[in-house]
Subunit: 274 residues, 2 copies
């Protein structure tokens, strides 16, 4: 099955999922669409996130994808259910894989979650965790500074550390968590800084790594894995500035990966800003 | 969906998978069948393992299960394909989940596997790993002493350490692995000893933990998760000695779990030893 896996995100955060998909599934072709021009989705209403998400999905459906990865936590929280009900290809979001990994890792049954305001407000992680295992204690914290900081390329160093320390201090003060879910696909780019702030004894779950892992499982279950020798040329699209998108892609992907990627501008049908 | 998950194993090793299923999916009922009287499967022929596995599956199908977990690496290696092709419920083995987890964890792309003679001889792990990512280097080693040692309850201490050291020395000498798959469901019971022999820098993958994690994924994908508040009474069956099976179960499960389990003797149709 040489058809591509479609990946959508509000911007560049989902590139961490794409990177993990390339690493864990090197024979699978990706078509990625980042809605950079309307990023961030975190503070937007449910209706707006759903509309933008469907516009992205319709763009990818025209390219004949075999599976859809919603690589954006906010879009997963607000639109996954509707996508699952209305598409006839497998759909995976980033919330369930991160939740299942946290359930596997936690020994104390205390799990922390950090994400955008939209993701935290939706309670999507808390619901996903407690639907499976209701004795879990869950502490969720919105970190509105993190996405803008990542989009500016501030990932390590004094400034990043101070922002992360200040933001996480309520969580560290009150939660007995042994497992922390990075509930936003931008956050893996801050993982080193976050790990040094929370300490080595807390296991950090990257929803990007876990989503790639479960994409592999779901392709296998649906007999959709590409089994031929085939090293694909991935196609990336952005709705925003091409130069900035290429620059951020370069900082996420190592050169050998980037050489196999074409990056173009996307024109979504009925594209409209709020 | 309150129907049970069926779990089969050649004996008690699959109880490590059952234990992880209870921990990660506490609302799901299990019906476990261990073919203790014909254990181990490791040295048996492919045909014999296939026949015994189908006998176990037929026993569980009469109890109306919604999914089947083949919690035995040897049975997975020899019978998974035929089970998948002939059953109309989802089927998962222990080889793919362990392989996908190893692909996620390895940074050096060198993966080690230890298992029974049957599992190693089948090349099932090597094939599963390389089908997905063919640049992986894979070193597999059969450890025929480990299952009999576990069945005798020797899990830690001087004798266990010496056997593990002697057995693993060729692998440690020649492989540059950073990830080691415990390719037998008995081996998680030796995990502490194995970790201390291989050192902390090698990530050990328990196929039991990973199989429970993917069972959760697959139930979700097929809309089979039990969403009601419901704490099930699990049913365990053994084809062998009931007293020994109860004793080993006690050593694997903490008391609160064991109280929710009934253990009975199973009479497989056409049960026959080699």
């Amino acid at each position: 099955m040489k058809q591509a896996i479609g990946v959508i995100d509000s911007g560049v955060g989902g590139l961490t999922v794409a990177h993990e998909l390339m690493r864990q599934l090197p024979k699978e072709k990706l078509i990625y669409l980042g809605d950079t021009s309307r990023c961030p989705y975190g503070p937007r209403s449910k209706e707006e996130v759903q509309q933008f998400t469907w516009e992205m999905v319709n763009f990818l459906l025209e390219k004949d994808i075999k599976m859809l990865v919603v690589a954006c936590n906010t879009a997963t929280a607000f639109a996954l259910q509707s996508l699952k009900e209305n598409l006839n290809i497998p759909v995976i979001g980033v919330i369930q894989p991160g939740s299942r990994a946290a359930i596997k890792f936690t020994k104390t049954n205390h799990v922390g979650i950090i994400g955008t305001e939209g993701t935290v407000r939706s309670n999507a992680y808390t619901n996903a965790l407690k639907n499976i295992k209701d004795e879990l204690e869950v502490s969720a914290l919105a970190c509105p500074m993190f996405v803008p900081m990542v989009e500016q390329g501030i990932l390590e160093g004094q400034q990043a550390r101070e922002v992360v320390e200040d933001t996480l201090s309520p969580l560290l003060q009150y939660s007995k968590m042994d497992t922390l879910i990075l509930g936003c696909t931008h956050y893996p780019l801050l993982k080193n800084t976050i790990q040094s702030v929370v300490g080595e004894e807390i296991t950090i779950i990257s929803s990007s790594e876990e989503t790639a892992r479960e994409t592999s499982t779901i392709l296998d279950v649906h007999h959709l894995l590409n089994k031929d020798d085939y090293y694909p040329v991935h196609q990336f699209y952005t709705t925003g500035d091409l130069e900035i998108f290429i620059e951020i892609s370069r900082s996420i992907f190592k050169e050998p990966h980037l050489q196999m990627v074409t990056i173009e501008q996307a024109n979504l049908h009925q594209l409209q800003d709020s």
